[in-house]
């Protein structure tokens, strides 16, 4: 399913996906009042001034069909509206309709979805946003040969009986699975199979309106037409971007966006250490600035030690990233060896290598505890990892003794980035103590996820792979099928199933889980599946769920951790005088 993480990793961006949000069953009742705008005022907010955003790198893409990076997905809401969207107020994140007027209704258990649309929404030039524009926005995402980089959900989920290939390749073609009501006040999506969580999928940019007359193909990435509170005044790729107010945006039509600053300036090209130190020391323009792509890493210890001093501008929160080891089941065939690896790994040294308690929390599962319906608190190697994270060396040795002739020479693959080498060394030491031989395989940042997914005979296969996953929406369906379902694999590529799970007995269970349309039941079934896979087949060693730490300038207010994208959001930000 989702290959999102590969992309994210290759651009070194943040995770996206919901964190503190729990997957509420999608309401099919009457429209709550909170869905209409404007968004509730932020306490102490001041209108005016310039918000500065300092980033290391330019945005990969701001074309809604191509944007797939957490921090950018959060940020581009200043000028892009989608069918549905996340709203964060006072630390609480929920799904709300954006261009839509409701979260969709289905009469056939999630195979056909109809969304009512808000009336009188306008683009920056004053022209009306129509249902046809929404449809066109999705259609152009089918031309992913030209508009690369985006999600593939529209293509994955929507029916496509006519084999539509995108409006550039197929100018006369039509995507018949999307239909607009005669009045243009509702849009209907026909899916290839039931997707109970479809309203979460429509938060992505391939479900945003694009006026066909203004579509400039690849160049739309430089100047998308704004439907949000700000519009692009100038954008110099790799240098800077300036946003100014969009007078044609009506706050009353929007439940999730604010527009306190007069102007938003984004600058690119800073170096991690320098930028971090600027924000940390709160000097010069950094006073009124924040960063979307730079976390406190080198200054973390100092910031945390003196956290009361920084408390107004330090943001520490859970990210959606689960850090884990995938054991290659193509090469490590003996289940006792895999269980021995699970036992041997010392989560204590791993988390310390990542930075200690502020870096994250031990986890027995790939599913964070915030997904209450899906998370299962099972034991790994017979112990509760939250209470005894230390490596179970004796248990590992005992398991290895059961398979004296099995493979004990392991190649450990890790990415050359941040704390990952130190964490890999921690894993190596723990495995050595249990009697394994470990060869380290340091791989480049760029292309890491492609490399570790390769199943070609021609390349050296790592046996243990240090990796991570951040979910696209807060449900087990955004985690378990992508990481553990053998049906996603091809003979040459494991896709995101890095442990190469391919147990025939599990496949029928996954097929069953596919048929569940109820969100709650789906979470429960997939949670059970995950537990069975980790405990019985031992192809995964969950380690910890990561936490994020950001810092902003002292003159900024309203900045908050966004549960929708697991990053620091400038959406409600204001600049103090």
């Amino acid at each position: 399913m989702s290959l999102r993480n590969k992309f994210l990793a290759s651009v070194g961006a943040l995770a996206l996906g919901a964190t503190a949000m729990s997957m509420a069953p999608i309401a099919q009742a009457a429209t709550p009042a909170s869905w209409s705008g404007p968004a509730p005022a932020v306490k102490g907010a001041v209108t005016g001034g310039t918000l500065t955003i300092l980033n290391q790198g330019d945005f990969e893409h701001i074309d809604p069909a191509r944007n797939y990076v957490g921090g950018t997905l959060d940020f581009y809401r200043f000028f892009i509206r989608t069918l549905t969207q996340y709203r964060t107020i006072n630390g609480k994140t929920e799904l709300v309709p954006d261009v839509a007027a409701d979260l969709g209704t289905t009469k056939d258990n999630g195979k056909t979805w109809t969304f009512k649309l808000r009336a009188n929404l306008k683009y920056e030039d004053g022209s009306k946003i129509t249902c046809q524009d929404l449809k066109y926005g999705t259609m152009r995402s089918y031309n992913d040969d030209i508009l690369d980089g985006g999600t593939t959900y529209a293509k994955d989920f929507l029916q496509n009986e006519t084999g539509f290939k995108g409006p550039y390749t197929d100018p006369t073609g039509d995507l018949t699975s999307i239909t607009c009501s005669p009045k243009g006040d509702a849009i209907t999506y026909k899916l290839a199979y039931a997707v109970p969580y479809f309203a979460y999928v429509t938060t992505f940019g391939s479900f945003s309106p694009v006026p066909k007359a203004k579509d400039t193909k690849q160049n739309y990435d430089l100047r998308p037409v704004s439907s949000g509170p700000y519009k692009i005044e100038s954008y110099n790729r790799g240098k800077n971007m300036t946003l100014i107010r969009n007078k044609n945006w009506d706050p009353k039509s929007d439940p999730l966006r604010w527009n306190y600053p007069d102007k938003i300036v984004v600058k690119f090209g800073y170096e991690q250490n320098a930028l971090e130190n600027m924000l940390f020391s709160d000097s010069g323009e950094a006073k009124r600035a924040m960063s979307l792509d730079t976390q406190m890493v080198t200054n973390l210890a100092e910031a945390m030690t003196y956290s009361p001093i920084f408390k107004d501008r330090l943001y520490a929160f859970d990210s959606p990233y689960a850090r884990y080891l995938a054991i290659n089941m193509d090469t490590v065939k003996d289940v006792n060896v895999r269980k021995a690896i699970q036992c041997a790994v010392n989560l204590e040294t791993v988390l310390l290598a990542a930075g200690g308690t502020y870096a994250g929390a031990y986890s027995n599962s790939l599913i964070p505890t915030s997904l209450k319906n899906a998370y299962r608190n099972f034991n790994v190697c017979g112990r509760d990892v939250h209470k005894s994270p230390e490596g179970q060396t004796d248990a590992a040795k005992a398991l290895l003794a059961k398979s004296p002739n099995a493979k004990k020479d392991l190649i450990l693959a890790y990415r050359d980035k941040g704390t990952e080498p130190a964490r890999a060394a921690a894993v190596q030491q723990a495995l050595l103590a249990a009697g394994f031989k470990v060869t380290m395989m340091k791989l480049d940042r760029a292309g890491y996820y492609t490399r570790i997914g390769q199943r070609d005979v021609g390349v050296v296969q790592p046996d243990v792979i240090q990796t991570s996953w951040g979910f696209d929406w807060a449900a087990a369906s955004g985690i378990v099928p992508a990481l553990l379902d053998g049906r996603t694999m091809s003979p040459t590529d494991s896709h995101s199933n890095y442990s190469r799970q391919n147990e025939p007995s599990m496949q029928s269970l996954f097929e069953k889980a596919d048929m569940i349309t109820d969100a709650l039941k789906s979470d429960k079934a997939l949670g059970d599946l995950e537990q069975k896979i980790i405990v019985d087949f031992a192809g995964i060693v969950p380690m910890y769920i990561e936490a994020s730490t950001f810092m902003t300038g002292s003159k900024l207010g309203g900045v908050q951790a966004d549960g929708g994208y697991g990053t620091l959001s400038p959406l409600a930000a204001f600049v103090r005088k």
């Binding site: 080198t298 030690t305 988390l351 310390l352 200690g356 190649i411 130190a422 340091k442």
Partner: protein, 330 residues
């Protein structure tokens, strides 16, 4: 004037002033110079200490009951960014130089074993660069003509390369070639690649000096005489010319070692060197950078050690040159 000649002049002068007259070889004269040079004594003391520590390194894990790669979670404060507990980076009777932040590995042991890695890579690269440099320099200078043209251009091309940048670019390529040939990407591949890269860029310096010396020597009377007596080329190169070259070679080698040590550290620092968990000074410096505010001792130790060792080697090289070449000013 060649060194051989200079030494003869000195000998003549000594003959005049000192009585009773005793004949001294150039080596004996150089040695007496070196012995009376205090800088040489101090710098060779430090060089010796570092080499000695590197050689006896395997003793320390027994004394300290731990290994350079062992993690010590009990020495770290998990709630304070996993920094060492205690002052000066966790210095204690058990951990003489403190422990690494986030891993708790013993810095003293990593320092000692890092000396082994850094010095052995530098020394092996020096030997290889010297052998290649001397042979090519000899050939180029002795044969002259087309051989000299080709070899000199080759040296110039290599010298013109921005060596560190090129090394950074070529290291991953070489590694991937070797890895694709079936070797896993570990230090077994990385260390030979580093040695190869460093010596490839190091030899032309020696070769150029040797070539210059050979050109001035090959027209001298004693060579003429040997040639007239029917000596083979082999004899001319190895028995007549080479013995007159040991002084410049020695000086270049002495000055090359510190250059190679810093190159090795730089390569590792920039990510093209040895990988976890092998100890290495460049790697220690790299790992310490994020913590320079919070735990300055961690940066200080490998940085200071590298500074002392390179300084010692450089001063020793200078002293050797002074001893061998009495005309260079003090």
């Amino acid at each position: 004037m060649s060194i051989y000649e200079k030494a003869s002049v000195i000998r003549a002068l000594k003959l005049i002033e000192a009585a009773p007259i005793t004949g001294r070889s150039p080596a004996a004269i150089a040695w007496s110079h070196l012995k009376s040079d205090r800088t040489a004594w101090v710098s060779s003391f430090f060089v010796f200490i570092f080499l000695f520590i590197g050689v006896i390194a395997p003793i320390f894990p027994r004394i300290l009951h731990t290994t350079p790669d062992a993690f010590h979670p009990e020495t770290l404060d998990a709630d304070r960014g996993a920094m060492p507990i205690g002052s000066f980076g966790g210095i204690s009777t058990q951990h003489w130089f403190g422990v690494e932040p986030r891993t708790g590995r013993d810095i003293f042991l990593r320092f000692v074993f890092g000396a082994r890695t850094s010095l052995s890579i530098a020394l092996i690269a020096t030997v290889i660069a010297t052998v290649i440099g001397v042979s090519i320099g000899l050939m180029s200078g002795f044969f002259g003509g087309k051989v000299d043209q080709v070899l000199s251009r080759l040296m110039e091309i290599i010298l013109a390369f921005p060596s560190i940048l090129f090394a950074l670019a070529i290291t991953p390529v070489l590694e991937s070639v070797l890895t694709r040939a079936g070797l896993p990407d570990g230090n077994g591949v990385r260390i030979p690649v580093m040695i190869f890269v460093i010596s490839t860029f190091g030899w032309p310096y020696i070769a150029r000096i040797v070539r210059g010396q050979v050109i001035s020597l090959r027209e001298r009377e004693f060579i003429e005489a040997a040639r007239a007596l029917g000596a083979s080329r082999w004899h001319l190169v190895f028995r007549e010319i080479l013995p007159n070259l040991w002084a410049p070679i020695l000086v270049t080698v002495a000055l090359n070692i510190p250059t190679f040590i810093t190159t090795e550290a730089a390569l590792t620092f920039l990510g093209a060197g040895v990988i976890e968990p092998t100890s290495d000074w460049g790697a220690m410096l790299l790992a310490s950078v994020p913590f320079y505010r919070v735990d300055p001792m961690y940066t200080f130790i490998p940085g200071f050690a590298l500074f002392i060792l390179v300084l010692a080697f450089n001063l020793l090289g200078d002293s050797v040159r002074d001893a061998l070449d009495p005309k260079s000013s003090r």
